[in-house]
């Protein structure tokens, strides 16, 4: 069984990151352009949590607000509403000194290379190390190495005029990463690059994410690099339409396939459920739901056993793969039983709203549920 080979405790730890582990934590971020009558809302209640070391690819049509969100994360725009924490600092109402400090920890790679024509590739890159006060003895080998890695070893002291478009873009990439930022914000960094150098750039990104815990947000339409993403965020009309943690989703789908209740779902529906499920752990004896309370969650047992008690009398014991909590959600009634962990239990949990949307979208899921409830009675 796949689930047995996976350590659910480990998954819980990884999928429920503590706030200190989040590089980006956006909650209820709204943004508006213009003022008065021409004021137009461009971001609607954006919620986005990105762990340290995660590579996020943001997609969406132009005008979807992804660029606005990126500039907000990059401190290049003031946050108007909501909470946005970047590298642990709240940006709503942040002091200029905080912003200045944060910017030095962020690496920007813009769609245009924005290199000074009067400076050589080396000098353009060293503008970033100088700002951070990295001494030249340390900066020099780093700059040379980075430029060499990006295939510019022979052109370190060339001015942009003597470089091709792709080479200029690679210098800009070097400038964005040379100071080893904790967060890289890149706008179409590979658009001007051929397949090989584009791959080299994303490989460097991956190394920085893995080795230095650098968080990377890439706005791109380049599907050649989608495979490096840990998370793909898709925006439409100022809303985050989908926010898929790729690895988590894949693992969850595999797990869910093991459970009868989910097996009948289409792959797409499974993926949808997987994306919305959270994992939670209960200790033996802990009360999971209480009879008489209004319920707002649906549970599937991933590991362990639970006791069902009605009016204080144990009526049943459920094991792995069983589910509970659905009646209250479907019928909008208080819980009809108390559920208590018999051993240490790990549950997959779907919130009421997500449960409802899965129900709405999947006839078979609803059917499965009804069959199960029917069978139980």
């Amino acid at each position: 069984m796949i689930t047995d080979s996976l350590d659910l405790d480990d998954l819980i730890a990884r999928w429920n990151p503590s706030p200190s582990d989040l590089s980006i934590n956006a909650v209820g971020v709204n943004h508006y352009y213009g003022e008065g009558e021409t004021r137009k809302q461009v971001l609607f209640g954006n919620r986005l949590q990105v762990r340290r070391g995660e590579i996020v690819i943001m997609t969406g049509p132009s005008g979807s607000g992804k660029t606005t969100l990126l500039t907000l994360i990059g401190t290049l725009r003031k946050v108007q509403e909501g909470s946005l924490k970047v590298l642990g600092e709240e940006l709503l109402g942040a002091a200029p000194t905080t912003v200045a400090q944060l910017r030095k920890q962020i690496g920007f790679i813009f769609q245009a290379h924005n290199l000074f024509e009067s400076l050589t590739a080396y000098q353009n890159v060293s503008m970033a190390t100088e700002l951070l006060g990295i001494p030249p003895v340390e900066a020099k080998p780093r700059i040379v190495e980075t430029l060499t890695r990006l295939g510019l070893g022979q052109r370190i002291h060339y001015k942009p005029r003597s470089l091709s478009g792709g080479q200029k873009q690679r210098v800009a990439v070097a400038r964005g990463i040379i100071h080893r930022p904790q967060l890289i914000l890149a706008d179409e960094p590979t658009a001007a690059l051929d397949a090989e150098s584009g791959r080299e750039v994303v490989t460097i990104f991956q190394e920085m994410a893995r080795n230095d815990g650098c968080t990377i947000v890439i706005v791109t339409h380049d599907n050649r690099i989608l495979d490096v993403a840990d998370r793909i965020v898709s925006m439409v009309d100022g809303h985050i339409r989908t926010n898929v943690l790729i690895e988590r989703n894949a693992i969850m789908c595999r797990i869910l396939n093991e459970f009868d209740i989910f097996r009948s779902l289409t792959p797409q529906a499974i993926s949808q459920v997987a994306d919305k499920l959270s994992l939670r752990k209960y200790l033996a004896g802990e009360e999971i739901i209480r009879q008489g309370e209004m319920g707002d969650e649906f549970f599937v047992i991933g590991a362990g056993e639970v006791d069902i008690e009605i009016d204080g009398i144990r009526v049943n014991t459920l094991g792995k793969g069983a589910f509970f909590g659905e009646v209250s959600l479907i019928k909008h009634q208080p819980r009809n039983a108390t559920v208590r962990a018999k051993s240490n239990v790990t549950c997959f949990i779907l919130s009421k709203d997500d449960f409802q949307s899965v129900m709405d979208n999947s006839q078979t899921f609803e059917q499965e549920l009804r069959n199960a409830i029917f069978a139980r009675q």
């Binding site: 990059g74 200045a100 924005n114 000074f116 024509e117 000098q123 503008m127 700002l131 030249p136």
Partner: protein, 388 residues
């Protein structure tokens, strides 16, 4: 730590534009030098005659508002002045501007300034001994020496290698020019003659029944260690309200003040200099603003990276300083040449002293920094959010 010299590199990146900038600023520098040069030449030349005098305190008619104004006073007052214990020597000086007319043989009579004094007394600092050389010759009646910077229109050959004596007429009477000295013209005088006071009756008998009794200036030398200003004050009390008594420097300042405040001339040159300044500001602003406009995206990128606004202020100010220095040097050389040319054409004293060079350098720096600050507004507004 050595920083990438962004300001310098950006400045010299476009050589053609840099050249235009340098030419433009050099032009503005030259304009300022010319205007200031003329202004100072006016003052310098006007007071040069006083500067050359070995004089501690000067006495003159209290209504005399400028050096050339012919208001005189009784010589007897100078005898009173001489009685002051601190006064070592009194030199009466006689001056003619308007009535004195010099004519070369076959030429036209032109007004000329004539300065007369008792040759037994020393009037001028005379380091080169020029005037001393002619003392014997000048004691002969009807002789004079002429300022070699006097206008050529007088018809006398005053250049190096010229032969003397040369004959002419002063106020319709025979005059023998037996040599030359160095003084310079000014706005009121095309030339000057020096001669012995003994010639007063011969040429300017109309001054008074005894022409010597009416003097233009009393040049006083004080005892060593005397406080010039204090003695001048005491003499003022002693001599009454008919005359003014001033130290040499006060007198020079008064004369300069007259020209710069009471005549439009000083103001005109100030306006000229202000124009030079404005031209410089505009040229410099164009160059700096262009540079910023062309690199707005790059500067915005630096802002996104976390470069603070003061860095950009530094870049623009540095560019302004580089530009002003690059423009100043050719401007100075050009002005030097022009000063020399002007001086030889007009006979005005066009001096480029260290202090005056520094003043223009300061103005040039101010000019470029002002335009830099104007151009900076654009840069401060550069919005890195527009880059994504």
């Amino acid at each position: 730590m050595r920083r990438t010299p962004l300001a310098w590199n950006n400045l010299i990146h476009d050589k053609r534009r840099l050249l235009i900038a340098i030419v433009g600023i050099a032009f503005a520098v030259m304009l300022m030098f010319q205007q200031r040069g003329f202004r100072l030449a006016l003052f310098d030349s006007t007071v040069e005659i006083v500067q050359l005098m070995d004089c501690d305190v000067i006495v003159f008619n209290s209504n005399r508002f400028t050096i050339s104004n012919e208001l005189r006073f009784r010589r007897s007052l100078l005898d009173v002045a001489a009685s002051h214990p601190q006064v070592a020597e009194v030199v009466p000086v006689y001056l003619e501007n308007l009535a004195a007319r010099l004519r070369s043989p076959g030429g036209r009579a032109r007004p000329i300034r004539v300065i007369l004094w008792d040759l037994n007394q020393r009037l001028f600092y005379d380091d080169a001994g020029e005037i001393e050389r002619y003392r014997a010759g000048l004691s002969k009646p009807g002789t004079a020496i002429m300022d070699q910077l006097s206008r050529e229109a007088y018809g006398f050959d005053l250049r190096g290698g010229a032969k003397f004596p040369q004959n002419g007429e002063l106020s319709r009477k025979q005059l023998e020019v037996i040599g030359r000295f160095w003084l310079g013209r000014d706005f009121a005088h095309d030339g000057s003659l020096l001669m012995s006071v003994d010639n007063l009756e011969r040429y300017f008998s109309y001054r008074a029944a005894d022409p010597r009794t009416v003097v233009d200036y009393g040049v006083l030398r004080l005892a060593a260690g005397a406080d010039h200003r204090q003695v001048a004050g005491e003499l003022r009390d002693l001599l009454g309200s008919q005359v003014l008594v001033m130290t040499k420097q006060d007198f020079i300042d008064r004369e300069i003040n007259f020209w710069s405040r009471s005549t439009p001339i000083g103001i005109i040159f100030n306006i000229g200099m202000a124009l030079g300044f404005v031209v410089g500001v505009i040229i410099c602003y164009q160059i700096l603003a262009n540079d910023i406009a062309e690199h707005l995206k790059e500067f915005a990128t630096l802002k996104a990276m976390g470069y603070p606004n003061r860095y950009f202020v530094g870049v623009v100010i540095r560019q302004a300083i580089y530009l002003s220095l690059l423009g100043f040097i050719p401007g100075l050389l050009l002005s030097w040449g022009l000063f020399w040319f002007n001086s030889s054409v007009t006979g005005l004293l066009m001096r480029l002293s260290g202090e005056r060079i520094l003043v223009i350098l300061g103005l040039t720096l101010a000019m470029c920094i002002v335009s830099g600050l104007l151009a900076l507004r654009k840069l401060i507004q550069a919005d890195p959010a527009a880059l994504f």
